[in-house]
Assembly symmetry: C2
Homo-oligomer: 312 residues x 2
């Protein structure tokens, strides 16, 4: 990714990995700006010395959390997304110095209508806040598989974002994700917010991107018979909103709270004690359920990374 | 529940709540025996002074975890489920003194075939281990809604468990869950392993049990327009394997990592800053994602409970 989108062309999203140890590898790869989804991610990144340019790409009206971030602004550049007068005033009251205008480009979630973006920026500047530009997330297009359709739809969304950027001013036009990182060559976007690319999951694997699945939940077979085996990896260790996880060479039958029942595509079922690699369907809510990640190189554990940005 | 299944008729399952503060209320209600799904739950319960009679209703071959539990046996009565020679030998090597034979009664998960239960018990006793009886979880029947069908199917499963109990000996025949707690009047079962009853969720609510939903994820509306609103409760705070959560009086559109998009059934969308109660579809993997629970009485926060048994 650092080759395709070097330096600040990519603003890696911490919501996917929640791990400052991994972020430090992204810094080594040349990225210096980061995206966050929660205030805890922002504060944790600053404390880890990674506060050079942090965007909270999410709205909040929690005064104490906004103040906690505002107090860090002498040590870090913190920019907060706003999409309403309520979020503007919360940021202003807390002393937040920099904002981006979050624009709705088609995904029914956060973001002001493109028509209102310029006026919200004006009101922010009237309160003495620096408006660095706009962001707009075309999240509803991540899994579109037809290339021409995806090019056309991303362009439609980004036309709305460019219109808003024109009204808002500032230097940042931030958009995109792992599913569209390669569809912004001529959209006018200045940076891509992708996070899942670094670890990937079975859903994004369907898009045949040039990134490999790198995170697995490793468990142990605790029960086995000629028909099926049970590994001690279950719902509490997997993000399940994209469906069941996968096990290479095996069929997953179902997941329970603490178990996954599965059978081999051919050959005998694995014996009790066998270690099994379970591949999550959705990486973000999977990582968020783990206290740490074990880094494996050539089948040896070489490091332990804390998932230190999880929780709220 | 304490009225319906007083004292040791119920062995409350800690996997649903993972909270020793809640377990202490169950002790006040007369229950003294508990079920656990993980070694961390067992160890945490002992440390909280709740180790009078703990069943690890799950298999493990992790020697260090088994030893950690074995070292607590002078302070606590700990019983571990086994369903194979591998799990028996792991328990024996670690010095575990008490086991139950876990019997497969129809759910394709853990448990030895009923025919093999007696011989596994013999081999355990030959190793000097006390076999307290059998357990068998009819988990595949929890959501059967037709009463006569459920009675018949539970009886079929429990006939298998009684057969195994007859061969195994011991005083415990442990089975059941929140979906079948009331279907064991004549099955010969000595105790029910139910956990979800204390907090409930939208799936179990479909069974019209005499238990109320008591756990909600409370969030704040962070974005709103005439068509929809967005609350800051998402995939990372909800167990999603039973589908989307519910919001009273509203339609849930979809959940993202940190958001739920929804609209009111009638009337205006709630304003930014409004607090919203999101009801999870599946309580166990929801609770497991939270560091603490806030206890509310008459709309006031009266206590904070740590979810102290989560993780691995």
């Amino acid at each position: 990714m650092a080759t395709l989108l070097p330096g600040t062309k990519l603003r890696p999203h911490m919501k996917a990995t929640k791990c400052t140890a991994l972020a430090k590898l992204q810094v080594q790869a040349g990225h210096t700006t980061f995206t966050c989804a929660t205030t805890r991610e922002v504060v944790g990144m600053v404390k880890a010395g990674l506060g050079q340019d942090l965007l909270l790409a999410n709205e909040t009206v929690d005064a104490s959390r906004l103040r906690e971030m505002a107090l860090l602004q002498d040590a870090a550049l913190i920019t907060v997304a706003i999409d309403s007068d309520e979020t503007l005033h919360a940021a202003s009251t807390a002393g937040i110095r920099n904002v981006l205008i979050d624009v709705n480009v088609g995904l029914p979630r956060c973001g002001i209508s493109p028509d209102g973006a310029g006026q919200l920026a004006d009101r922010a500047r009237n309160l003495g806040i620096n408006v660095r530009g706009v962001m707009g997330y075309e999240g509803h297009l991540m899994m579109v598989t037809d290339k021409q359709e995806k090019i056309a739809k991303v362009e439609q969304c980004m036309a709305l974002l460019r219109q808003a950027a024109n009204d808002v001013g500032g230097e940042i036009i931030s958009a995109g994700g792992t599913g569209t990182y390669d569809f912004h060559h001529s959209t006018g976007v200045t940076e891509i917010q992708a996070g899942s690319y670094s670890l990937m999951d079975t859903q994004y694997a369907q898009l045949h991107l040039p990134f490999k699945q790198a995170a697995f939940v490793v468990g142990t077979v605790i029960s086995s018979n000629p028909q099926w085996a049970v590994v001690d990896v279950g719902l509490k260790s997997l993000g399940m909103d994209h469906g069941n996880p996968s096990i290479d060479g095996h069929a997953v039958w179902f997941c329970s709270d603490e178990h996954t029942t599965f059978s081999p595509n051919d050959g005998p079922t694995p014996q009790v004690g066998t270690r099994i690699r379970v591949t999550p369907a959705h990486i973000d809510p999977t990582v968020a359920q783990h206290e740490c990640a074990w880094v494996v190189e050539n089948d040896e554990v070489v490091d332990r990374w804390e998932i230190d940005l999880r929780g709220w």
